[in-house]
């Protein structure tokens, strides 16, 4: 069994985002990391491999800098790496990104796909369901854990009414929410092995995907609107003042 894990490199969630000339200034991002939900997907894939066997292939679609993230994935146990080189992901719309990733999964002959429920930069969550549809796979989102049962899988997912344990058969895709497990840290041997692991690098055209005609064009980025400075109070006696302001000034209680 081959498990494909879809990973995206994003500004670390602790990074500040600055805007210059109407665009997010990527050169000012202090640290690039694997998107947190993708980390949960990768850890769950590695655990499933350990319990049920198989290979984990880490796939990313992104610029050259994302190669570092694939090496990080190899260091914790990804068996093979596929990098679809796309210099500017912002220039692609959701249909193009999904077509690239679905073709990449097919290129790896994977029937099972793990990914994050959304990336920490776009916060969208379109990729999992879209890729699942393109590969004719069942899709389970908001997943916290997956176990295999022969040819089928069970997953825990969150729903508005509480958690549910659901069963699906391959081909299937699981989009992970934050679970109980954190991505393991690499050991020295893993880091050394990862340095020798070469990612297969393809272009979108190698996978037969046309990246020319996006139907979404980004016009500008801007910083979030500044809030006017708030009112500051000291000490417990001010609680009554604030409550009266919430009632009479803000009208929210």
């Amino acid at each position: 069994m081959t498990i494909a894990v879809l990973l995206k490199q994003v500004p670390d969630t602790t990074s500040k985002i600055s805007v210059s000339g109407g665009r997010v200034d990527e050169s000012a991002v202090s640290k690039w990391s694997m998107s947190p939900y993708d980390e949960y997907a990768l850890e769950s894939a590695l655990q499933l491999k350990e319990s049920g066997g198989g290979d984990v292939v880490a796939i990313t679609c992104g610029p050259a800098r994302a190669a570092k993230m694939l090496t990080d994935a190899a260091a914790v146990g990804a068996d093979s790496l596929l990098h679809v080189l796309v210099e500017d992901l912002n220039a692609l719309d959701s249909t193009q990104v999904q077509a690239i990733l679905a073709a990449a999964v097919s290129h790896c002959s994977a029937q099972v796909v793990f990914c994050g429920k959304q990336a920490a930069d776009t916060n969208a969550g379109s990729t999992g369901p879209g890729v699942a549809h393109l590969m004719g796979a069942s899709c389970v989102t908001m997943v916290s854990e997956v176990a295999s049962e022969g040819d089928s899988f069970t997953a825990m997912r969150a729903s508005s009414g509480g958690d549910q344990r659901v069963a699906v058969s391959a081909p299937c895709l699981f989009a992970f929410d934050k679970g109980t497990t954190e991505l393991r840290r690499p050991n020295v041997r893993g880091i050394m092995m990862a340095k020798k692991k070469v990612a297969e690098t393809l272009g979108a055209s190698d996978l037969g995907v046309d990246t020319s005609a996006s139907s979404v064009s980004v016009d500008s980025h801007s910083p979030p609107p500044e809030k006017p400075p708030g009112q500051r109070f000291e000490g417990v006696d001010s609680v009554a003042v604030v409550v009266s302001k919430l009632r009479d000034e803000a009208n929210v209680i």
Partner: protein
């Protein structure tokens, strides 16, 4: 502009966010067709102002949630130029799958819309705002509380479509929620605690206040990561839930950048922290420099008087 709205509904009826989706449809010049999956919420959907018609889509597949199957069943009725759904987990999945079925792009979690179609949305969990132009046909999901709800004086016609799809996700076991508390993603008022609460047992003070004002109880990532008793479902922030309540009360939360990203668009923010230099005060409309031990009993007493 031919707009289809996917109603947010369940066996409990129509979710109020649906009227906001209609408001968003009207903002781009559409008198929308509203689809009610499983026929849920039809009675309420017909009375939303501006709705051209309501289609009740009924089929066996709506017995349990399989976003792929629901999307397939709904897609036959989801024609037109723009599909609008709520940016809830289910809404996002259904809309993304319908978009993939139709081969059209989707833009998620939109907070502003204008004819053209111009969309604005927060990216990096609100650390920046993106404005883009989207060609039609397209799908859009809309953040709760970003658009004014349409009124309630409509009287749309209803038609029923029988359309099911093969269900591939089988529910084996449903685990009831640990608590019946309001979810932070649903709440209009949220009171959240951070690691400054000192001990997870102290969240009971937040719960008492939440009960008085009908609030949900949230938590910072630091609190969720530190204490097993505080589940991830309560986490507000970049790797938790992004919320836009009318009132957000942050108690013992310093205001790490990734927490601010998840709550800074709240309409009013109250911060209670003993550290006058805590970053949370930078986004607070009303900041109270005090310990929670002092402030929460006073807050409870004052709210109890209302």
């Amino acid at each position: 502009m031919d707009v289809t709205v996917i109603a947010e509904s369940s066996e409990n009826g129509l979710h109020p966010v649906t009227a906001q989706l209609v408001g968003a449809a009207v903002a781009i010049g559409g008198a929308p067709t509203v689809l009610c999956a499983g026929g849920w919420g039809v009675e309420d959907a017909v009375s939303i102002s501006g709705v051209a018609k309501v289609i009740s889509v009924v089929g066996d597949c709506f017995g349990s949630f399989d976003g792929g199957a629901w999307a397939e069943a709904l897609s036959s009725a989801s024609g037109g130029d723009v599909i609008i759904a709520a940016a809830t987990p289910a809404g996002r999945e259904i809309a993304a799958t319908i978009a993939a079925i139709r081969g059209i792009p989707i833009v998620q979690d939109v907070t502003g819309l204008a004819p053209g179609i111009s969309v604005t949305r927060p990216i990096y969990s609100g650390k920046a705002i993106e404005s883009s132009t989207v060609g039609t046909p397209c799908a859009i999901t809309v953040r709760a509380n970003a658009f004014d709800a349409a009124g309630e004086d409509g009287s749309a016609e209803v038609s029923t479509v029988n359309q099911s799809a093969d269900v591939a996700v089988a529910v084996r076991e449903a685990i009831a929620k640990a608590s019946e508390r309001l979810d932070v993603a649903e709440a209009d008022i949220i009171i959240s605690g951070g690691r400054g609460m000192g001990d997870p047992a102290n969240f009971s003070h937040l719960e008492e206040i939440a009960d008085i004002i009908g609030a949900a109880v949230g938590a910072s990532r630091a609190a969720v990561d530190t204490w097993d008793e505080i589940p991830h479902g309560m986490q507000v922030g970049q790797t938790g839930k992004t919320v836009t309540p009318s009132l957000y009360i942050a108690v013992g939360i310093s205001g790490a950048i990734q927490h601010l990203a998840g709550m800074r668009t709240s309409k009013y923010i109250v911060a209670i922290n003993k550290d006058p230099d805590a970053p949370i005060f930078g986004v607070a409309d009303y900041g109270i420099v005090a310990t929670w031990e002092d402030a929460l009993p006073a807050l409870k007493a004052e709210l109890g008087k209302l």
